[in-house]
């Protein structure tokens, strides 16, 4: 019997190997109910493999997993009955219409799924093209049809693997709107992506994965807490500016950007105080400062730091 757990997905020591290649390496994942959970990692980090295991598409080499409180793959039919997913590019029978493809997908779901076909076509804006062959659809339309297919089961959990791949900016915007609507309805979203900006805009919880291992996991605010000091300096001579501030003991890292510098502060440093110090040093060195902007370290920056460090360790 499934219990109404705080987490909709729980894995322990989940591992998947293909011969000597370890794609997923001892993953302990907790996806809170009702969250928008980003599973972030560079290409080849094992994101798709993890989602494939959670959906029963491939068997784990070791470890345990529970979806909606039910052990997988033992109770897969019950666990997945209220899960909708898009893994990589959604596949369709191209010689059939969008509506017929949904009919086929609904046949594998609960009987009520057939009653939702018109509604989900309307939701994704494909009602007008529902009876056209999928072979005539654009990639964006196929992606939307994939989303419609996910919604047929009225899912509690949506697992989307790189869902914006191939979408134009308008399609991405539209997709974000749909996702926000699902989250507002109380569904849990698991979004696997290498687009960190995408995850920052949609998700409230994140796990960062590299080479099959989770290297950081928590809420967005938890992950960006502790090192929130960064200052962007826009000036006339970045090289001269670098020389002027290099000796400042409050700085952890300095990098040149297109029209100036971006500095990272040590955790104990005060953002405002250091900003004032830097301004004084730069003006004193004869650097014309156009803009001096304190900011928080983005998730993207933190993600790149982690993966870069891991790369350096190997």
């Amino acid at each position: 019997m499934a219990t109404q757990s705080e987490f909709v997905i729980e894995t322990e020591g989940l591992k998947k190997s293909f011969g000597d290649q370890v794609a997923v390496d001892g993953v302990d994942l907790r996806v809170p109910r009702g969250s928008a959970f980003g599973y972030l990692g560079p290409n080849g980090a094992g994101k798709t493999t993890l989602i494939r295991m959670l959906l029963g598409l491939t068997r784990p080499s070791a470890g345990t997993m529970r979806v909606l409180g039910r052990p997988m793959p033992k109770e897969r039919s019950l666990a997945l009955a209220r899960v909708g997913a898009i893994v990589e590019e959604p596949g369709f029978h191209k010689h059939l219409s969008g509506r017929e493809n949904l009919w086929i997908a609904a046949a594998a779901r609960e009987p009520e799924a057939h009653m939702r076909i018109d509604k989900v076509l309307e939701q994704v804006g494909l009602a007008d093209r529902a009876d056209d062959h999928v072979s005539t659809y654009s990639q964006g339309m196929r992606q939307r049809l994939g989303i419609a297919r996910c919604l047929l089961s009225d899912p509690e959990v949506l697992m989307l693997d790189e869902p914006t791949n191939g979408l134009d900016p308008g399609g991405i915007q539209e997709f974000r709107g749909l996702v926000r609507a699902w989250i507002a309805e109380g569904r849990t979203l698991v979004l696997s992506s290498h687009l960190l900006d995408e995850v920052e805009k949609i998700c409230d919880h994140v796990a960062i994965v590299d080479r099959g291992k989770i290297v950081a996991q928590g809420s967005l605010s938890e992950l960006s807490a502790g090192d929130d000091g960064a200052i962007t300096i826009v000036c006339d001579d970045p090289h001269k500016a670098l020389g002027a501030i290099n000796a400042n003991g409050s700085l952890r890292d300095v990098e040149e950007i297109a029209s100036g510098l971006r500095v990272l502060l040590r955790p104990e440093a005060s953002l405002e105080k250091v900003a004032a110090e830097l301004n004084k040093q730069l003006v004193g060195a004869g650097v014309a400062v156009y803009r001096l902007e304190p900011s928080h370290v983005s998730l993207e920056h933190r993600f790149l730091e982690i993966t870069r460090r891991l790369g350096g360790d190997s």
Binding site: L55, E100, A106
Partner: protein, 271 residues
């Protein structure tokens, strides 16, 4: 969103029966690459055969007999039960066994949580629902033309008509399940069709004529199917005699082995 507990159950009267089987049929019947060659190999083959014989008869009735009558019916049924119908069944079975994989839909069906065994088993009635009506129509055309174009020739008895009809349906059904299993095992339509056509056309014929193989030839699909035929083969010297029980065992093994392999691969394949 509704919670599982609050989901409203659809009244039984509004539920659609055999949904997975209907879905399989929908995929196949809407595929022109499947149903057109199947119709040509079944209905088309019968129409062409009877039309050609009748034209010869009209052209030179002293040399060529009428298209109807028992002998031509037997030939037509052998064409259907041992060649064209088998190839048609192989085409439909290969498509049924591979189309979800090649389109990428298999992954979605599996991730619905539906049992893989159920997904595989639904393909059997789903594909037969396309194949057998076409075979039945072809058979009906042959039966009608056998009587209508008989001229003065004798026509088969009602019993023979019924037995022969059942035999061609059985033959197509067996090859369909074998092809479905092989398709599900191999995973690609082109490879499945190539293997089956190679086996059904040259390979089987060659093995059948290697008399040194003796009773080992009883394992051939065409030999076992032929044993069940209610009509004699066109070439009586080509008959390999075997008992009815052996024939049934061989056919059960063909269906069981290939059906079992297809099911096993469907259950274990990474989607």
């Amino acid at each position: 969103m509704t919670t599982p507990e609050s989901t409203v159950q659809l009244p039984r009267s509004l539920r659609i029966p055999f949904r997975l089987e209907r879905a399989e049929l929908l995929k196949l019947r809407k595929s022109r690459g499947v149903w057109i060659p199947t119709a040509l190999l079944t209905i088309g083959a019968m129409v062409v055969m009877y039309t050609a014989i009748e034209l010869f008869h009209v052209y030179n009735s002293s040399k060529y007999g009428p298209a109807g009558g028992t002998l031509n019916f037997e030939r037509a049924m052998f064409l259907m039960g041992q060649l064209a119908g088998m190839i048609a069944a192989a085409l439909v079975g290969a498509a049924a066994g591979t189309q979800d994989l090649s389109s990428g839909v298999f992954r979605d069906l599996v991730s619905s949580g539906r049992s893989r065994t159920r997904l595989f088993l639904a393909r059997i009635p789903g594909g037969l629902a396309l194949l057998l009506p076409l075979v039945a129509v072809a058979y009906a055309i042959a039966a009608v033309l056998t009587v209508v174009l008989a001229g003065g020739l004798a026509t088969p008895s009602v019993t023979l008509f019924i037995k022969t009809g059942l035999w061609v349906l059985l033959s197509a059904g067996i090859v369909y399940v074998v092809s479905l299993g092989l398709g599900s095992l191999v995973g690609t339509r082109a490879a499945t069709i190539s293997i089956l056509i190679a086996y059904l056309l040259p390979v089987q014929g060659i093995i059948r004529n290697i008399s040194v193989l003796g009773r080992a030839r009883d394992g051939l699909l065409s030999v076992a199917v032929e044993r069940l035929s209610p009509v004699p083969p066109p070439d009586p010297h080509d008959v390999i005699s075997m008992s009815l029980s052996t024939s049934l065992i061989v056919l059960v093994l063909w269906v069981g082995i290939f059906g079992g392999l297809g099911l096993w691969r469907t259950q274990t394949r990474d989607a």
